[in-house]
Structure formats: structure tokens, C-alpha cells
């Protein structure tokens, strides 16, 4: 077996599971309970908050824990938009944001906002000048992801942050895909709101967070008992949050070395895949997450590639996992200017801690054959070869 789908699902680090376990069995106090078990739970939350904060240099703000990156993106964009709609109702987003950002923007559109989606170049880099030009007196928020989970492209968020700040507009950065892969420093980014995800750093699923800079307000989207300073109600998932905290602590310690390791594997993998004829790299050749390999193969379709690899115990994917009902190709690849048939032929490999040289050898034993087999089945291939 060789697993190359870390962006869509990560195992939980054993040390994280160990840290979580007591909070499932013994330390079961509710953080809102007055007694000492409640106090312990409260302390565990504070401790996790501190650890996550340390990973992102977040001392100038607070972390609000959520059920994941999607909820954090909703809270950031819908929550900020609805809170400040009297100030202005224009927001700006890149066109390759995750669907949770795009659909949050669309929610605001239905509620009287105007949204400007900024184009990206062929490598997926957002047009910074266009952002600057699009900022109007009624613009209240700019949202740009740190890195794209699908094509791996890293955005010039520092540069964008500076421009946005100069204009006095709030800046949201979705760092779900970059956290634990490259440096996420909310100060250097100049970000006011930053979305974080636990599973992407080998923490449990069902947990995420939103960094909120001091002085920035959002309106909650889930209301109730007033937990998380009133910004996110619902009994806190203590074990999950403790796990996220532990994962953040481990990431801080280990991610740089691991990133270097994965980067080497990535570069080797890209080089070897591109040896297959009529195969191309998607995303930026250098400004790219250390664990991301996104390629396209002419004449064949991604899903059948994934299924063919699956038959050999190799796990890859076509794009960011979301339950697209429309069978449309990834909006990210289309935004990068790929033709639909090119987008349909794309394949995503994301590396993680478990991957080794051997995995790559195993993959490269299988992949050329699979590509060849599917091409032989494809009417497009025959045509292009003069059929």
C-alpha cells in the first residue's frame, strides 16, 4: 500500500491520541462546570489554545476553536461580514479559494454583499495588483488562502497583507492547507483572521480554529450557551481540542525537518512522473507546498486513473475532496486557465509523514502502465496518434 492522499485525510499522530485519551475516559468534566474536573477541562482548553497560538505566532489575538476549517472559514467571512455590514458591503476573494470560502462569499452575496473574485495566473498565483485596484471605500474584507490544497500554490500573502492593511481593510487568510507544511506567522502575514485545521497537522478531524486578532469582532454563526467567548456555542470537544493542541506542539517542533524530507520526495516524484509522455505539472513549479504533486495526463480522465491506482493499493485523488454533484472539474484548475479536458485529466498526490522512497518506486512501477492502459482505451489518444 502507498498512500498519497494526505491532503484529504491524515492519520492522527500516536502521541496525539495518547494526549486525547484521558479526556475521553477520566477527565470528563465540562469546561463550564464549577468543580475541579471542570477546571481541569478548562485548563486543558487554555493549554491547547496556547499551543496552537505558539505555532502561528498568535500572541496578538485569540484562537476560537471550531468543528473544522470549513466552519472557521464560515465564521471568518460570514461572521465578519454580518458584523460589519453597516461599514460596507463589498468583499474580495481569490478565485481559487476553497469551496467553504467561496460559498461563504456567496452567502454574503445573497445578503446584500458584492463580492469581487480575483483571477489567478496559469500557476495559480493571485493577481495582487488586481486586488489593490479592487479595494473600494466600501470594501471591508479581503480573503486569500495561504496555499491551495489542490495545486499547492503558495500565495504572496505578506505582500497582500501589507496592501490590505494600508487600505484599512480586514484580511482573512485560510491557512488550512499550509499549516504544518510551511511557516504560518499571522504577524508576518498581517492577517486579522486566520483559518486553521487540525487534521492537516495530524490532529483529529472535527476540530479547527480561527485566529482572531485583538480588536476584530465577528458575529457567531452557531449560538447557544456562549462558549468560546460567545463566538462559538456548544459544549467544547475537549479531547479533540487537546489533540489539536498536541498536534500543534509536535508540528512546531518537527514540521521543518519533515517538510524538507517531503520536498525531496516531491521533487523526485514530479521529475519521474513528467518522464511519462504528454504529462504536465499543475500549479507553480517553485512556490508550492512541499507535499503537493498535481499533474495532468493528456487523453485520460482522472477518476479512472484514481480507480486504476486503487486496484494496485495506491491512493491518490483527483482534487480537493468535496462532494461535487455536478461532475464539473475542479474550479481551481479552471481558474488557472486549464481547458476542461485538461482539468478532467488531472491527478493529485499529497505526501505525508508515512511516505518513503519505496512508495515512490512502487507508484512509478504502476503509474506508467496504468496511464498507458487508459490511453489505449481512450478514443482521444488514438485520434491524436493519427487515428
Amino acid at each position: 500500500m502507498a498512500y498519497f492522499d494526505y491532503a484529504n485525510g491524515c492519520p492522527v499522530d500516536e502521541r496525539v491520541i495518547e494526549a486525547m485519551m484521558p479526556y475521553m475516559t477520566d477527565e470528563i468534566g465540562n469546561p463550564s462546570s464549577v468543580h475541579s474536573l471542570g477546571l481541569k477541562a478548562r485548563k486543558a482548553l487554555d493549554d491547547a489554545r496556547e499551543k496552537v497560538s505558539m505555532l502561528i505566532n498568535g500572541a496578538e489575538g485569540d484562537i476560537i476553536f471550531t468543528s473544522g476549517a470549513t466552519e472557521a472559514n464560515n465564521l471568518a467571512i460570514i461572521g465578519y461580514g454580518m458584523r460589519y455590514k453597516r461599514k460596507g458591503n463589498h468583499i474580495i476573494a481569490s478565485s481559487i479559494e476553497h469551496m467553504s470560502v467561496i460559498n461563504s462569499c456567496k452567502f454574503l452575496q445573497k445578503n446584500g454583499f458584492e463580492v469581487t473574485f480575483i483571477p489567478v495566473d496559469r500557476n495559480g498565483i493571485v493577481d495582487v495588483e488586481e486586488i489593490e485596484k479592487s479595494i473600494r471605500p466600501d470594501t471591508i474584507l479581503v480573503t486569500v488562502q495561504h496555499a491551495n490544497g489542490e495545486i499547492g500554490t503558495i500565495q504572496p500573502v505578506e505582500e497582500i497583507g501589507k496592501i490590505v492593511k494600508e487600505k484599512g481593510v480586514a484580511f482573512h487568510v485560510d491557512a488550512s492547507a499550509s499549516l504544518g507544511k510551511i511557516e504560518v506567522d499571522v504577524e508576518r502575514m498581517g492577517a486579522d483572521l486566520v483559518t486553521l485545521s487540525s487534521n492537516d497537522i495530524y490532529g483529529p478531524r472535527g476540530v479547527g480554529g480561527l485566529f482572531i486578532r485583538r480588536g476584530i469582532r465577528v458575529q457567531p454563526i452557531i449560538v447557544g450557551g456562549g462558549q468560546e467567548k460567545g463566538l462559538r456555542s456548544g459544549t467544547e470537544n475537549v479531547a479533540g481540542i487537546v489533540g489539536f493542541g498536541k498536534a500543534a506542539e509536535i508540528a512546531k517542533e518537527e514540521y521543518k525537518e519533515e517538510a524538507r524530507r517531503e520536498e525531496k520526495l516531491r521533487d523526485e516524484l514530479i521529475a519521474r512522473i513528467l518522464e511519462i509522455e504528454e504529462t504536465y505539472l499543475n500549479g507553480h513549479p517553485e512556490l508550492r507546498l512541499p507535499n503537493n504533486v498535481n499533474v495532468r495526463f493528456s487523453y485520460i480522465e482522472g477518476e479512472s486513473l484514481v480507480l486504476s491506482l486503487d486496484m494496485e493499493g495506491i491512493y491518490a485523488s483527483t482534487a480537493s475532496a468535496c462532494t461535487s454533484k455536478t461532475l464539473e472539474p475542479s474550479h481551481v484548475l479552471i481558474a488557472c486557465g486549464l481547458k476542461h479536458e485538461e482539468a478532467h485529466g488531472s491527478l493529485l498526490f499529497t505526501l505525508g509523514k508515512g511516505n518513503t522512497e519505496e512508495d515512490i518506486d512502487r507508484l512509478m512501477e504502476v503509474l506508467p502502465k496504468v496511464v498507458e492502459r487508459l490511453r489505449m482505451m481512450s478514443p482521444l489518444y488514438r485520434k491524436s496518434k493519427g487515428g
Binding site: 480522465e301 479512472s304 454533484k325 455536478t326 461532475l327 464539473e328 476542461h340 482505451m377 482521444l380
Partner: protein, 154 residues
Amino acid sequence: MYSEKVMEHFRNPRNVGEIPDADGVGEVGNPVCGDLMKITIKVEDDRIKDIKFQTFGCGAAIATSSMVTELAKGLTLEEALKISKQKVAEELGGLPPQKMHCSNLAADGLRRAIVDYLKKSERMDRIKELGLEKELEKMEKGELDDHGELCEGV
């Protein structure tokens, strides 16, 4: 997502390829939508003597293509025209809802291959008898099959 039967056909597709001197050729789908199929048939005594497919597309597209060729082989043209999308899906133990329309094209491809055969053998009477004039018209105009319109990418 897919039934065992779908995966079995995906793993071991029947009748892959192209009949070199085919009597009829049917093409459906559009690479823009992620699906394109080409069916070639050999006909003898109004019976499908041989059939082959080529498909660019997802697992469902490949499995339905394979299934259609298996179902059609040996049938009379009239019988073969009765193979519906529904039937193909049933024989495969069902398809995911979102795959029913876009990736289940092979029956249409077969239909077009039959029309092409009848046209080439100049049997317009038979085309009329079997109610295939509209399909022929579309093919001559180079129109996409219905599915093309479903695909938002076009």
C-alpha cells in the same frame, strides 16, 4: 461509490478497442464534460456480430461502455436498440445518482453506431421503421447527444 459489478467491468473491460473495418461507428459525449465514447460494430444479417468500444471518462463511463458491448453482442439491431440506460445501470447493480446521466452514455453510442451502419448501407426505410430519423438528423448536423447539454462546461 461503485458496485462490485461496476468495478469488475472497470477492472476487466470487455471488448476494448476499435474494429478496423467497422460497419457502423457511434460517437457520443464531449471531452469537455469528461466523457467521450466511440462504439464500432460489425453487422451480419442485421445482427451485431462484433462490437468494440473506446472511452475517455470515469469509472462509470468505462464500466457502462463495457457492459453495453457485452449486452449487445449477438443481438439483432432491433433488440440492441432496446438496451436503455436504465437497463445498463441495472445490469451493473446500480450507479451513483450523479453518474446516471453524464457517464451512462454507451447505449446512446450504440444507437448511433446502428444508425451509422443503416445509413452507410443506404437503408433509409429501416431507419424510418425504427424511428431513428431524428438521431440521424442530429448526427448529420454534428449535434451533441442530449448529454452534452447537461454538461455545464460546454
